[in-house]
Symmetry: C2
Subunit: 320 residues, 2 copies
């Protein structure tokens, strides 16, 4: 079944791609088998992360960008984060519904992923889904995520270029920007810049970035754009292309690729370590015994953890 699906997938069957993505979303050994099989085909797409708060106009921007890339004959894949509604248990589809221009065009593949409270879990999955789209042969992959304040540090994906979208509200000023947003952006967009305060926000942001990246080979540009007008989107597309050329010229693309792979191997190994350790029946028994002492106050959690971790041996013998 898997081989049959992969054959159709490599032949460009959109339904097969969709089914493989569902398999990946489910996780477990079958997801690993699929991703392992696709791995040699991964690495030809260019990945652009687009992050911003809910309502910042990311989706409209992505729709417009997608249109531009399609106009050049490039194929596009989109992996988009859908915040899960706490009320219905389902995803909030508002943003998705707006992305209609691409409907019916097989050169655009849009996948939304419900994020259920774990930002790091979402970005790991988004990477894996991007791998599927990459192996599927998409030229551009747009990874859309909702910026949530402090956490942008963790939303690294494997994007080569990261675009941060701001919508300045009345009271917002650059000094109050959440930590982390400055670190991850390669290109900044001040969206809905028809609002009166946006100009000052963009100017301040630009000045701050110039100061921060003073002397660096890449100073992130600030693009005042208006999602519904078209001029800003061309400037954004050009800025993404500029950043790509910058990375290529400096060998940073390969460096980013290796860094991403290294992080992934580490993450996957940690998951397996945890699964192996906590799934071990000896550890389970030992945990129960040790935890009783913690619960009664006879053993601190720190000593308990040390005792549990001491059950571990590496490569046949411990070396520390």
């Amino acid at each position: 079944l898997r081989d049959h699906l992969l054959k159709k997938f490599y032949a460009g069957d959109v339904l097969a791609a969709s089914r493989l993505m569902t398999t990946v979303e489910r996780g477990g050994p079958e997801a690993e088998a699929v991703l392992g099989a696709l791995f040699p085909k991964v690495g030809r797409s260019y990945r652009v992360g687009i992050t911003g708060s809910s309502g910042s106009g990311k989706s409209t921007l992505i729709d417009a960008l997608t249109g531009r890339y399609r106009g050049e004959g490039l194929t596009v894949g989109v992996v988009a984060e859908d915040p899960t509604s706490p009320f219905t248990g389902g995803a909030i589809l508002g943003d998705r519904i707006r992305m209609t221009k691409a409907a019916g065009d097989t050169g655009v593949f849009i996948r939304s992923v419900a994020s259920r409270g774990s930002e790091s879990g979402f970005s790991a999955l988004a990477d894996e889904l991007a791998d599927v789209l990459d192996a599927f042969g998409r030229d551009l992959i747009l990874l859309e995520t909702i910026g949530v304040g402090q956490l942008e540090h963790n939303i690294r994906f494997s994007a080569q270029t990261t675009v941060v979208v701001f919508t300045p509200e009345g009271g917002d000023d650059v000094q109050n920007l959440k930590s982390g947003l400055m670190e991850i952006g390669n290109v900044f967009v001040v969206n809905k810049s028809d609002r009166p305060t946006a100009d000052r926000f963009a100017t301040d942001l630009s000045a701050t970035l110039d100061l921060r990246y003073n002397g660096a080979a890449w100073i992130p540009p600030v693009i005042p754009t208006i999602a519904h007008r078209e001029g800003g989107v061309d400037v954004l597309k050009e800025a993404i292309a500029d950043h790509r050329r910058h990375l290529e010229a400096n060998g940073h693309l390969e460096q980013k690729r290796l860094e991403g792979l290294r992080n992934r191997v580490r993450r996957l190994t940690n998951e397996k370590l945890g699964g192996f350790f906590w799934g071990n029946s000896y550890i389970q028994k030992r945990f129960d015994g040790i935890f009783k002492e913690v619960a009664s106050g006879d053993l601190s959690p720190y000593e308990a953890a040390r005792k549990l971790a001491e059950s571990l041996t590496i490569g046949g013998e411990r070396d520390q």
Copy 2:
């Protein structure tokens, strides 16, 4: 030195408490030694988590609550999250400066903690600092954190009662609330409820919670409060006391205590496992060798992780 500090600490020396908290913040073996030594004295405080977005008026509310508790002769400790400014590298002290009523009162101990991008790291540290305040004999510990959207799932602390503070803006409605917020709140506050839309927001929130917790023993109350007026704060204090009585009556307090301890032992064990594994020289060599194959595309990250994790042995022999 540690014993001397602990002696002063148990005698109620505020400076000693502050220095022990600094040690805990630094982490490492000395932090573990301090926390291990305090562990038998931990467990007498009541911990209240207070979460809400930046600017929701949490700090003013905490200031007012603290005043009420002090009025009853209770001692209070506050552990507050300070988002780190990306510009200065320092914490944004705006909120802290507002908390001035308590200045000079040794019955109130306020500690702010810079959060540098890791929400789970912050909540682990907040728990540990709360342990210090707990062993110090504080009656009430208020854990203030900035709600950042999707992530509230992870902001569990060891708080027995969690208060979620909303400030409805013009466009906000209950249907668009971020996932997770509903799950963690035991008491909800609609702050700055003098704004015109706040009444409807509070009514909707109340109706939604009634529906969601229909038949449950505790239906989270919604308190329309105005941080600068005083009436709402008394209602909030009473709601926290109600929830505490509810937990005590149902044996849930002990259950929460054990759950918190279990999570902590697991987290600490995972940290030690990771440190032991990645710090092992055999693993480091093996990682380098295996990663070369991944980088060249000969091995998928999944197989690489499996190979690395297979270096692990538990209790002298593998059982799976």
